[in-house]
Amino acid sequence: MDASAAKLIGAGLATMGMIGAGIGVGTIFGNFLSGALRNPSAAGGQFTNLMLGTALVEALGILAFVLSLVILFS
């Protein structure tokens, strides 16, 4: 196999890390929404925690994305 082809495949595989991030972000927002609908008065106070959790989960997806770009362009 050509080395550049292997690089492309590797980059594609690296983006799979974003699957986990997608699941995580969906879980966070879904659970936030179901909780917020049950107790809307408490939802506003948890906005900071929501953003924090999203940021932490998203960081892993971004990590995979950056890794893929690094593989692709190195």
Partner: protein
Amino acid sequence: MASPMEQFQIKKIVDLPDFTIPGTNYTVDMAITNSSLAMFVAAGALILFFAFLTASPKVVPGRFQVVGEGVFTFIDDLATSVMGHEGRKYFPFIFTIFTFVLTMNLLGLIPGNFTATSQLAVTVTLAVLVFSLVLIIGFWKHGLGFFKLFVPSGLPLPMVPLLFLIELFSFLLRPVTLSLRLFGNMLGGHVALKVFAGFIVALGGMAFAGGFGLHNLGIAGAVLSMGGVVALTALELLVACLQAFVFAILTTIYLNDAVTAGHGH
């Protein structure tokens, strides 16, 4: 077609003499590049904004003042809600980080402008700045007691070393994730924008080449891509604000860890 990565290429605009750090033989190229120019523009815009805002403040604010004070109280509320009374002391730092990152993000969204926060050097510098501040404050306030941050209270003794290592590792990973999050978001957004913009050009070229109904298909595709670029720009506007906010909120939480060393509010 140009590579979507070409927009991140650093170019020298004004060449300044190199600067050698005293005591070492490491030289720094102090040339004004498009990246540092973007920082200058962002800092200048910020200074102008706040100078204008605070030049003649009114007790009953006008529209412009409402915007400025909205940003101010937003971060002020954030700092006090996370750090409590200590928040006032660290507020200028958090506020500077937030406004600077936000301005660099937003200015980068103007087509043709360079995005300073899409440079790993910039985000790493900001993250290391925050991280070193956390270390300095933590050890200055608590001494070796700062290590208590890595040992959750009420833990059975055999678990302590293991959890200490895990917590230490996640602590050391903080500047990495902090810098990569901002960098990755900005990089990814701009790459996606560039790819869609590239589609417009490619499909438009196809439309002009014509033949076999490809003409109409090319025009439809180009229009669709144009819509995609507009939608992505709106999304990137949200991401630019959100990432600045996330950077500020994480800075606040890390600083709070350093101030309280793990035992709560």
